[in-house]
Symmetry: C2
Subunit: 476 residues, 2 copies
């Protein structure tokens, strides 16, 4: 081993220690150096190669940390058994034909359409995410927690986050719960699937019609029957709900999606009375965008009035913070917690502890309230602009769903159908959303004249320009 | 407005600009300053209070950013409509009695037991997470992406991450897929629930017995029937599978949990033949800890041999990186992608774009391979130590499930039952896990003599000390 020759190129831009590493790795991978063989001492090798001892030390340290060699105290360095090791490889030329055929089969039939302006219903205001602060909190969350963050966390979510959430929900929304009732999850879809496992099979869910389609599919794929219940200007009709065979009612009382109405207290009480009249009846209250209201006093969450422990309250940070901060939560009635623990409680939490910690700091230190107030001001300006612009249509259109959230509805009164309104907008390079796609039950399709317009993602200038075009094409 | 008096305390530790802010906020909240009212100009107020203009500017900027006042160009500052704003409040004394009763109802019947040493089956080696590097990548991921990170991402996961995953899976595991087939999700439980919505209702799932219980519950709560299929030393018995009425088989061929055997190629081919014999048969291959093998050549994933497009391959970073990096993935057969797009494709991705970006960088830049090699060395040392220690029991015990993963099994041959082994360990302050709890179907309970020992989380010293005690109490 004393005649251990490693070809070194002192003119290369690759540092000497790295050249030694690469050479020894290759020799080990090719099997020319075998498991258990002893390497020359660092001092010996340095002398041999006519380089400094510290350069060899650096190389050996690197090889130890990568698992190629091990240091045996007082003895020296030995080659490890590398069976089962991973060697970074150059990208391999795969069977191109095979890949091509897979790709062809997977190609989407319609290519993505590109619009100049998209009144999209998800997303947030450009620049609306508190990027700088988030990065700072992320650093702190990672630094403060070190090892703890990488052990499995509480399946319900971190106690610290649930504690501040319970406080926030009480103060801002009138929700009454202890932190133990809160389940944190990566988005509403996941939480609704989880809720399905908690409530058990064979349920019938009453949903407002039209409604939030994703929730509709969550329930359907849980195997639940759906009862589409009509709504008037106050929300889900309590009499129709009573007449249905549903034992779960899914509602959005703070700002119904997509219709945008706010359910008044009287109707809320009727829904609670319906739930209280049956042993196993539940209301799912989806409070997805209640953070943004522009007029009138806030109506506290339905959950806060619940005396019978039958409301499942759901909230999310997707709208209020950003859709890819994948954190939602639900507040379970106390009487469902046992069922949760024996069923859903087996599933690991779906949000990383680091993200939960960042959010906890964000709430606890008052950043969330400041953020909401700032965003509310931003969205109110856009909301007011949207109203001003589309009210110029006068008697030709009716605006609804305003005063809360980040979308509103325009119903055309000049005979233009929804399909035509969407098509004409598209021809002008603008994407708007027909109301009919949110309806459950294709059979009872009625001729719609309403489009849904989300304005969170658009700049004021964009709103102005697009509104001008829409008004022109819709009244041409 | 020119006589606008704000009491300032120049001796206070609260900066002057903040005192102005607090005062004005309180006045607005109390309604003494009303929406639409004009504030004095910054210059005027500064003169009035005898302070610098820039201090007032600072205060006004702060109030604008928090949504209390707005700046109208060329006119001045006006009070905003604060209906619906959030005011940070002091924690409110809640109805203590109400909370207390909720907490009482939610109290867990058994208090958490504390053990000196826990041979836990989840978690990773202390210090095993590449903390420093992760923080660096997190900073880069957040910095590089800025706004893009906070728009809704691809429901399947970020294209960049899926691209490097496809390459990694091909090189390391022989999995053949294009990135379009990969679905990223927050943990295997979520992905199995999602898979349930893709495969549709009414399925019968064959599972090895004993098996990974969480998967068992995922399938059960999806509404699937479970067929417990026996296994011999090669894994799930193909004949029993054939005889069952199952149309989905869930297996862990790389390292069965909890039994720890590696399924040889012949048995894998038998399973594939079973799947190919039916139109709508699928194999779910859970490759949860294949990253760590200590002996013998790697057996490529079953998926790589699949000619009939019937294997659903699942992997996770929970074991290889950390359980709270909540990222798992599944590779769907091409023929299931349409079903996915029309069903599960409606659900938003459950992992934040930031986390996906960090992971992409981690894989793309070779850190993952280095990390795996380092951890493999760490775990191999522990694995070898475990073997050495428990083999000292000689004929009194049989060791199995070794050579891969981070757990092994000890079967006592001296008549000691599993229950006694667990109890005696507990009395010595050590937690070990009885095999019987992973069995499906309580009816056919047989007397077990086997305990399962996870060693990832323990230091070598701890393993040595605990093994000594266990050997003593088990042979006493």
């Amino acid at each position: 081993m004393s005649t251990f020759l490693i070809p070194l190129d002192s003119k290369s831009r690759v540092p000497i220690y790295q050249q030694i590493c690469e050479y020894l790795k290759a020799e080990i991978q090719r099997g020319r150096l075998r498991a258990g063989e002893k390497l020359p001492s660092a001092r010996g090798l340095a002398q041999n190669l006519g380089i400094s001892r510290s350069t060899v030390d650096l190389a050996y340290d690197q090889l130890v940390s990568e698992g190629y060699i091990e240091a045996v105290p007082c003895k020296g360095y030995y080659i490890c058994d590398i069976d089962g090791m991973y060697f970074p490889k150059k990208p391999i030329r795969r069977e191109e034909a095979d890949d091509a055929s897979r790709r062809e089969q997977l190609a989407s039939p319609k290519t993505q359409e590109v619009f100049e302006t998209d009144f999209a219903l998800d997303g947030i205001a450009p620049g609306g995410f508190p990027h700088h602060l988030w990065k700072k909190l992320a650093r702190r969350a990672l630094a403060e927690q070190e090892d703890r963050l990488y052990k499995p966390g509480d399946p319900c979510g971190e106690p610290g986050l649930r504690e501040v959430l319970a406080q926030y929900l009480y103060q801002a929304r009138g929700v009454r719960c202890v932190p133990e009732q809160i389940i944190v999850g990566a988005g509403n879809d996941y939480l609704l699937l989880l809720l399905g496992t908690i409530l058990g099979s064979g349920r019938r869910v009453a949903m407002e019609n039209p409604t939030y389609l994703s929730a509709y599919y969550d329930f359907r794929y849980t195997g639940y029957e759906i009862e589409a219940v009509g709504q008037d200007s106050l929300g889900m009709k309590a009499k129709e709900l009573e007449a249905s065979r549903a034992d779960v009612a899914y509602v959005m009382p703070s700002h119904q999606f997509p219709m945008g109405m706010v359910m008044p207290l009287k109707r809320r009480m009727e829904l609670l009375a319906w739930a209280a009249a049956g042993e196993e009846r539940y209301i799912v209250e989806d409070d997805y965008d209640s953070e943004f209201r522009y007029k009138g006093k806030p109506v506290p969450a339905l959950q806060g009035f619940d005396q019978k422990d039958c409301v499942i309250y759901m909230g999310t940070f997707s709208k209020s913070l950003a859709p890819t901060v994948r954190v939602s939560y639900m507040v379970l009635p106390v009487r469902l917690m046992k069922q949760y623990q024996s069923r859903g409680g087996l599933f690991a939490v779906t949000v990383s502890r680091a993200d939960q910690k960042i959010l906890e700091l964000f709430l606890k230190e008052g950043h969330y309230e400041r953020h909401l107030n700032r965003m509310r001001a931003v969205y109110k300006t856009k909301h007011d602009l949207m109203l001003r612009e589309f009210r110029e249509l006068g008697d030709l259109a009716e605006i609804s769903g305003e005063n809360a959230g980040v979308h509103l509805l325009v119903t055309l009164k000049n005979g233009l159908t929804e399909q035509d309104a969407v098509l004409r907008a598209k021809q002008a390079g603008i994407r708007v959303y027909g109301l009919s796609q949110y309806r459950i039950g294709a059979a009872e399709k009625i001729q719609e004249h309403t489009v849904v317009l989300g304005y969170a993602c658009l700049e004021e200038e964009e709103i102005r320009a697009a509104a001008k075009k829409l008004k022109a094409v819709w009244t041409a």
